[in-house]
Amino acid sequence: MIALIDYGAGNLTSVRKALTALGADFVVPRLPADIDSARGVIVPGVGHFAATAALEGAWLEAIARNVADGTALLGICLGLQWLFEGSDEAPNVRGLGVLPGRIVRLRGNAERRLKIPHVGWNALDFRALATTRSSPEGRGSRLLSGLDDGAQVYFTHSYAAPVTDACVAATTHSETFASVVERDNIFGVQFHPEKSSDAGLSILRNFLRVSAC
């Protein structure tokens, strides 16, 4: 079973519809303790980093505890950003902090007509890690399994994560940022897999497989 976390940032309808289409067994837990019976946790979210303040306390602790026990975690968009230590968008709100680094605002480039927010379809450039990193099975990225390098996915955001060791795919707008992160049982995507047609559904399906759901 997957626990889909509702903390009031954006609405869950599209993620629910995608999970339903994939035949996933999922619930939207009412209480943090409900996460304990889940094999995978999805933290979605659209909007301002300040919204993740709703997760501070019991939710954050429950997610951290389960992830430490091996439960798979997928952060989508704002959910990916929340995996890091914090964000310049809301400096007083702390992230889950399971990945080192800080979320920063994209700069854009007026001369080259590169606008912020970064809205639309852009490519996933697989990093060497995507195919060579040692995962528990000794394979490459589990989240990107079956996808082609250069696959196009749908983004809509103004802030982004730095390219660190956890980055398995990067994307370039005015600058290059981490579009897919993966470390052991922790996964994050800056784009919206639930809005990225077949490529996005493949990624969600991979997460369900990793979660054994």
């Binding site: 609405n11 599209s14 659209v46 909007g47 912020i116 809205v119 852009n122 749908y154 809509t156």
Partner: protein, 251 residues
């Protein structure tokens, strides 16, 4: 590199897709769920559902239409037409819309743009501008193009951005349904004035019209209806044409 988006517009009345010429002479064009599915297979980047009647009865039909489309395709979905309040926007979002498009209501109550931007984020708020040329300017019209709003499109687009709009959907009323090509001058004038993406609409007739609006018109996305509905040309063929002309697209 960010690609140029091709958006299919479904003008919906009583749960069916219709299409007119210069906002008149509506005719049937099919079932929204079926059309959306076909467009998804062909590689459309986004879908817009415009409720062109927007009466109270049609509001429930609209929620069913949004739900039917959102079940079939996993692409960004925008809903517009008759969104006059936060409640209308919430109903569309709850039914499965990712973005709402405001037109008449935004001009009447510009605060609505900011309210929705705070509630759902700017990325979820599109301000739609219907404009036509008049004495060297671009005049804004409301109420499905029947009423002169006495505003300039460029100036209104700037204000919408300041108030929190995430994108501008700019429709040329002169070109709507004519297939005479997008109004590239007007699109470029608005695109130069704002830093948010501009979606060009109205007049798509040939593949070259899209090439023009992405180059000369400086559009970030282009929206069309008729050219796709009657299966005259496929989205995939259009994208191959654009790529061959150096326009980055998702294929």
């Amino acid at each position: 590199m960010l690609t140029k988006r091709i958006i299919a517009c479904l003008d919906v009345r009583d749960g069916q897709v219709v299409k007119g010429v210069q906002f008149q002479q509506l005719r049937h064009a099919g079932d929204p769920g079926e059309l959306a599915k076909r467009y998804n297979v062909e590689g459309i980047d986004e879908v817009v559902i415009l409720d062109i009647t927007a009466t109270l009865e049609s509001r429930q039909a609209l929620a069913r239409t949004i739900d039917a489309v959102a079940r079939e395709i996993f692409l960004p979905l925008t809903v517009g037409g008759g969104i006059r309040s936060e409640d209308d926007a919430a109903a569309a979002v709850d039914a499965g819309a990712d973005k709402v498009s405001l037109n008449t209501a935004a001009l009447k109550d510009p605060e609505l743009i900011s309210k929705l931007a705070v509630r759902y984020g700017s990325q979820a708020v599109i301000v739609a501008i219907d404009a036509k040329r008049a004495e060297g300017r671009y005049g804004v019209y409301v109420r499905s193009g029947t009423s002169d709003a006495a505003r300039d499109a460029v100036e209104w687009a700037r204000e919408a951005e300041t108030r929190g709009a995430g994108e501008i959907l700019l429709t040329s009323m002169d070109r709507d349904g004519t297939r005479a090509g997008f109004d590239c001058e007007m699109t470029a004038a608005v695109a130069d004035a704002v830093d948010i993406p501009v979606i060009a609409s109205g007049g798509a007739g040939t593949f070259d019209h899209f090439t023009e609006v992405f180059t000369r018109g400086c559009a970030d996305a282009a929206l069309a209806a008729s050219i796709f509905h009657y299966a005259e040309s496929s989205v995939a063929d259009l994208k191959r044409h654009l790529r061959a002309h150096g326009i980055p697209v998702r294929l």
